[in-house]
């Protein structure tokens, strides 16, 4: 087993990986940028090293410096977390050559799955259903127009080099093709340095279903069932759950078999996720493979009892998978809410600042993975995820009830969070009955922003707020006046807000 792991990430995921290291009795080494010198992952790690200035380019994305540091401090493995360098095939290749172990798949697997068209071709060759469309880059606008007609409108134009919604255009009818082609091309060039585009048929109102797999370096593959992540805003997931209410036993069988087929096709090892779009008839299509640990991995851990991060480390260290497929089953239901520092009513602007108050929630079925603590700074430079609240229950109803309870107890102050969004989600019939799809938030929630989505607080809460404001303000005035006009026994002394 490894002696020391360098964790090349920040925030909640670095914290999560450090926990796994500690449980396995491995020394954890953290890296941090200037902005993160007091971040929670730095507080928790056994060792921590300043890697550079605050912008990610100069710190968490600095491949050479990170590799040099790993050698210098005697780390025998690197865990990349998600984002940053986790799916950077060049970095992984550098690590492989250096003799240090990368906790993740091979650079070859990452490269082939990272290039959307090569992934599509590989999947097709291996009988994994892909969204109907092109397998080669479109050479020019005329060719694109022709393909679009063949596939049939509406179509999706996508960047071969990318992901995350960039260089992506939904085209509803032929007259919109040319302008969309031009815009998607220029967006893709800016984001990924290549304007190669391809076409897919638009799957109408699909669900986002993904399968977690684990594979060792000896060709053993298992799956940890599916997750559903259809609650998303502009391709960013907000609520995830496992299992999916829309997946029946027969569909699950086909989905998980297909996922393992896809992983085998690229000679995959370590933890990975195969993402699918699923239509109303429960036909599913390969979307992409995430060749890394995912943000939403805890919901799977909660329903299977497997610690995915520890499995990643053991697989990387050359151990055989100890878990057999027939030992696994789905126990209960888990839901995750991603807590972002964002001001929904101010156009989802990131909210930056110091966490001035932080009190965790706990109790039956609740888990929190977090990157913040009291007095943490939420810097301007990185992804605004603060924490993830995960709720487990015997069934979906109980998991949701526990989540709602936990969110009334979790106190974060100092930055604006998206916590109020979840109480909206958990009131929606479409969410509760499971008929929601990936357009759910964009079509039902966004039109209510700003303001109209918020329920008004109960009259009692309002009255409590009114009383508190007046009492705090009054205590301040008394202190300023130096006197104590309200009297010595005044219960409202010392209320001054600091």
């Amino acid at each position: 087993m490894f002696k020391k792991i360098l964790v090349v990430n920040r925030g909640e995921i670095a914290h999560r990986i450090i926990k796994a290291c500690r449980e396995l009795d491995i020394v954890s080494a953290a890296v941090y940028s200037e902005a993160d010198h007091q971040a929670l992952h730095v507080r928790r790690a056994d060792e921590s090293y300043l890697i550079g200035p605050s912008p990610a380019k100069e710190s968490y994305l600095n491949k050479e410096k990170i590799l040099e540091l790993a050698k210098e401090i005697g780390a025998d493995a690197i865990h990349p977390g998600y984002g940053f360098l986790s799916e950077n095939a060049d970095f992984i290749h550098m690590v492989e050559k250096s003799g240090i172990t990368f906790i993740g798949p091979s650079s070859d697997s990452v490269r082939v799955m990272g290039e959307k068209l090569s992934a599509r071709r590989l999947m097709k060759m291996n009988n994994v259903p892909i969204v109907p469309g092109t397998l080669e880059p479109i050479r020019n606008v005329e060719e694109g127009r022709k393909f679009a007609l063949e596939i049939g409108y509406p179509v999706m134009l996508k960047a071969a080099g990318g992901g995350g919604g960039k260089g992506m255009r939904k085209i509803l009818s032929p007259e919109l093709f040319d302008i969309s082609f031009e815009r998607a091309g220029s967006e893709s060039r800016k984001a990924f340095g290549s304007d190669e585009l391809y076409l897919e048929k638009l799957i109408q109102k699909p669900k986002h279903i993904e399968v977690q797999i684990l594979a060792d370096k000896y060709g053993n593959y298992i799956h940890l069932f599916e997750r559903e992540c259809s609650v998303q805003r502009r391709h960013q997931k907000v609520v995830e759950e496992a299992p999916s209410v829309a997946v029946d036993e027969q569909t699950r069988q086909r989905l998980t078999e297909t996922a393992i087929l896809a992983a085998r096709a690229c000679g995959y090892y370590n933890a990975g996720t195969i993402e699918f779009l699923m239509d109303h008839e429960k036909n599913f299509y390969f979307l992409e493979m995430n060749t890394r640990l995912q943000v939403e991995h805890p919901v799977t851990e909660m329903i299977c009892g497997v610690d995915i991060v520890k499995e990643q480390i053991k697989i990387a260290a050359g151990r055989k998978l100890e878990i057999r497929q027939d030992q696994l089953s789905i126990k209960g239901h888990a839901v995750e809410c991603r807590i972002y520092a964002e001001d929904i009513d101010n156009n989802f602007a990131p909210s930056i600042g110091k966490i001035t108050h932080h009190r965790l929630t706990s109790g039956p079925g609740i888990r929190i993975d977090r990157g913040i603590d009291l007095m943490s700074e939420v810097p301007v430079y990185y992804d605004p995820i603060l924490a993830k609240v995960i709720a487990w229950g015997m069934d979906r109803e109980e998991a949701i009830a526990r989540m709602k309870r936990a969110l009334t107890e979790y106190q974060i102050s100092g930055v604006i969070t998206n916590i109020p969004l979840f109480s909206w989600v958990f009131k929606q019939k479409k969410f509760l009955d499971g008929t929601f799809d990936i357009e759910f938030l964009d079509t039902e929630f966004l039109p209510l922003v700003p303001g109209k989505w918020k329920g008004t607080p109960s009259e009692e809460f309002e009255t409590a707020a009114i009383i508190a404001a007046a009492l705090i303000k009054s205590a301040e005035q008394e202190t300023k006046a130096g006197g104590n006009r309200i009297g010595n026994t005044n219960q409202w002394r010392n209320l001054n807000y600091e």
């Binding site: 101010n346 600042g353 009334t408 508190a468 007046a470 010392n494």
Partner: protein
């Protein structure tokens, strides 16, 4: 007795604090007790229930309270301030001076105007980057750029005045 005007969800309430454990809200006397349990959290009892309240000060007159997962914004003024404020508002309506403040902290990516340029209300004047997102900041009024207090590449605190308009 200290008197306040408290605005919550667009509604104004008249609140009086007397010298007993009572608060007068819109003429109704309410029994209450409050204690401070940490730097910014309070326990308030009224009616049948104790409320745990986390307070965040936005500025001298504004609080954000967090009560059981619900954020409530409260504006509070002394009755004297309230009257003065209304007079000031009246005066501002007739004047034209305004400014652009940073709605969030961030990096100033681009300034589309220079001193002396005309601006239209709603016109994009600045580009502010925060957490990898670019945000266009628009002019609140018509006028002429009087002064610019930052340059491109500067990092800006929330509520800092970036530019003034005459």
């Amino acid at each position: 007795m200290n008197e306040y005007i408290v605005t919550i969800n667009g509604r104004k309430h008249k609140v009086g604090i007397t010298d007993s454990a009572k608060v007068n809200i819109d003429g109704e006397l309410i029994d209450t007790t409050i204690s401070k349990i940490s730097k910014n959290s309070f326990l308030l009892r009224y009616g049948k229930k104790v409320y745990e309240i986390v307070a965040r000060r936005e500025n001298a007159d504004q609080f954000e309270f967090l009560i059981e997962g619900i954020y409530i914004d409260v504006l509070i003024k002394t009755s004297v301030q309230e009257v003065a404020g209304e007079m000031l508002l009246e005066r501002n309506r007739s004047g034209r001076n305004s400014s652009i403040k940073a709605p969030m902290p961030g990096l100033l990516i681009k300034i589309n105007k220079k001193v002396g340029d005309k601006v239209q209300a709603g016109e994009a004047v600045l580009l502010l980057e925060a957490m990898k997102m670019e945000n266009e900041i628009r002019s609140p009024s018509n006028g002429i750029v009087k002064e610019i207090f930052f340059k491109e590449g500067d990092s800006i605190e929330k509520d800092a005045i970036i530019l003034s308009i005459e």
